[in-house]
């Protein structure tokens, strides 16, 4: 795969490996060779079950977890090769929003102190202007600026998640990594945060890596979606293409497991078995033990990546998201063996 000039973020063969505590020379490989690209202003949805490595991948971008090998290219710059000062600069461009906003915000700091912190840290703007930036950020995320003297404990979950977004916004990042940002919120509050994220992308051109286990949420905002299973990216496509022709059996099982808010809809399909332990990943295709459609070769060889759909040529004016490549790692999609 050739790297396109317009990529904001490119991951190449990223491997994340943890040392298992208390067991010498035992390693858990959470992300096993993932490559993906995110264009400026794009919302990339990363989905998978817990333990699939999606959070590890998101955190690896900022080197918050041990990156074993592979490249992380931010605006063409290899974050693995840069020094501390350079990395700190790059750090401004990428901000994180976590699932648990109560844990992510310091309980002893007022909202103002929390939001002004990155401005002070990166020495952004004149000191006198920073107060104004805090107000501006709060207004951008739809919060009353009067809340700035309150503490996180005084706010509701939805308000806190807005504060987390405001804090991420003040450094004017190019990419926000949002790790399950709406999973702990009520549906009505979820809908507000999703709308806010779409607005931020529209107005400020910020790209998002949106990590979630909830396909219904991801469908509402992602341009492209990657599906992870046991540390591998098993399917990647534009949101339209993924929902219209889910090609990996795992993606189909994920879709079928979602209970639909309609009593006339057929009941969810139950996937049997547990996801295998990442300590002892199965040979062949990572999914074959739970796959309802597995064939003999699934247990033997790991499938390559096949193109399900995609444009033969790239459109002249940059990435055409509607016609992004739809790629899948599954033997059943091998065009040679239909």
């Amino acid at each position: 795969m050739t790297e396109k000039k317009q990529d904001l973020l490119a991951l190449r063969d990223l491997v994340v490996r943890y040392h298992v505590q208390g067991k010498p020379r035992t390693y858990l490989t959470a992300v096993r060779g993932v490559s993906l690209q995110i264009a400026p202003g794009e919302i990339y949805g990363l989905v998978g079950e817990s333990g699939s490595g999606k959070s590890s991948l998101a955190h690896a971008i900022l080197k918050l977890v041990p990156v074993e090998s592979g490249q992380i290219l931010l605006q063409g710059q290899d974050l693995g090769a840069v020094g501390k000062t350079e990395f700190n600069k790059a750090r401004r461009e990428v901000q994180l929003v976590f699932q648990d906003s109560l844990a992510a915000l310091s309980p002893r700091r007022t909202i103002r102190q929390t939001i002004i912190e990155p401005l002070n840290h990166f020495k952004l703007g004149e000191t006198s202007q920073r107060e104004g930036k805090v107000i501006e950020a709060l207004e951008t995320v739809g919060l009353d600026p009067a809340l700035k003297h309150r503490y996180p404990g005084d706010l509701s979950g939805g308000q806190r998640q807005r504060v987390a977004l405001a804090r991420a916004l003040v450094t004017e990042p190019a990419l926000i990594i949002a790790d399950e940002p709406v999973s702990s919120l009520d549906v009505s509050v979820q809908a507000h945060i999703i709308k806010l994220i779409l607005e931020l992308r529209e107005r400020l051109g910020i790209a998002f890596l949106f990590v979630s286990h909830d396909l219904a949420v991801v469908q509402q905002l992602a341009d492209r979606i990657g599906v992870m299973y046991l540390g591998k990216l098993v399917e990647e496509a534009s949101a339209n293409s993924l929902f219209n022709q889910p090609s990996h059996p795992y993606t189909r099982s994920l879709l079928a497991a979602v209970p639909v808010a309609d009593p006339h809809h057929p009941p969810p399909i139950v996937l049997t078995g547990e996801p295998p332990s990442p300590l002892t990943p199965p040979a062949g295709c990572v999914f074959h033990k739970r796959c309802p459609e597995s064939i003999a070769s699934c247990a033997l060889t790991e499938p390559e990546e096949f193109l399900v759909d995609g444009p033969g040529k790239q459109s002249a004016n940059g990435v055409n998201l509607k016609s992004a490549e739809h790629r899948v790692k599954c033997h059943l999609c091998n065009p040679k063996k239909p």
């Binding site: 009520d186 219904a216 469908q219 929902f243 009593p263 139950v270």
Partner: protein, 266 residues
């Protein structure tokens, strides 16, 4: 018509905050019919969890105030029972599953020990009898290797496995009523489907009625017979699932239904 498994009349729960009394659950009345799966839906803060805790008698007397004309389990009024008598009812005739199985399971005992203790305490089984019953029950909730699971501690299991252990423990006594408070909110969709399908099929076999507290209207549509919609401590709508989704009457219910993200395919 047969008598309902659980009948709640004018249940109110209030908390004393300094000088103020704040009502969390306000005059809630409903019936849970035998063998029925009844959902309580509503947003956080609507009082659905406190309703369940009040029925189970789990609300501390200090600073809380629980009042009810009646909470009848098979015609027996629980609100008049002593704490000791209530303890015999809990686990035996009425059990509960919580959202977070990690806090509901004891970290220092194996799952086998915890499951066996239920059989021994409530059903008077001997140790070998309890072990074989526990092993069988674990098979029923979908564990192929019950032996290994029995020897495991809760932290060695995944969230979905822990929640299935909770289902096994809650259903061990074949209770009349099971209260499940957001049992799958912390789980992935695939695991959610596993847990709920096991739960519903065991319940229909044992004739257990389920009171399922959830904010997921997809779960309500797929697994429940009837639903109560709660807002600000009150029941604002009670309806069959068909009617609720086809023709919700209360504006709040319609608002909830409208905010549900739906997957569009094809």
């Amino acid at each position: 018509m047969s008598t309902p498994s659980l009948s709640v009349r004018n249940l109110s729960v209030a908390i004393h905050l300094r000088e103020k009394i704040s009502t969390i659950v306000d005059q809630v009345s409903f019936d849970l019919e035998a063998g029925e799966v009844l959902a309580i839906v509503g947003e956080s803060g609507s009082g659905k969890t406190k309703t369940a805790e009040a029925i189970m008698g789990l609300i501390p007397k200090i600073s809380w105030q629980v009042e009810a004309d009646a909470i009848e389990l098979d015609g027996r009024d629980l609100s008049k029972l002593t704490e000791a008598a209530l303890r015999k009812v809990r686990g035996r005739q009425m059990s509960m599953i919580f959202q977070e199985p990690r806090t509901a399971l004891d970290p220092v005992f194996t799952t086998g020990q915890q499951l066996c203790s239920i059989y021994r305490r409530h059903r008077g089984k001997t140790k070998p009898e309890a072990v074989s019953a526990a092993r069988k029950m674990l098979g029923r909730v979908g564990f192929a290797d019950a032996e290994r699971i029995m020897g495991s501690y809760p932290h060695q299991l995944s969230g979905g496995m822990r929640q299935r252990i909770m289902v096994a423990m809650a259903m061990a006594c074949e209770p009349r009523v099971l209260i499940a408070d957001e049992p799958t909110t912390a789980l992935d969709v695939t695991t959610q489907a596993q847990v709920l399908s096991r739960l519903v099929s065991l319940a229909s076999e044992f004739g257990t009625s389920i009171l399922l507290i959830t904010h997921d209207l997809g779960v309500v549509a797929q697994y429940c017979d009837r639903a109560l919609v709660m807002q600000d401590g009150r029941i604002v709508e009670q309806a069959n699932i068909e009617d609720l989704f086809a023709d919700a009457e209360h504006p709040y219910t319609r608002k909830l239904l409208a905010s549900v993200p739906r997957i569009r395919t094809g």
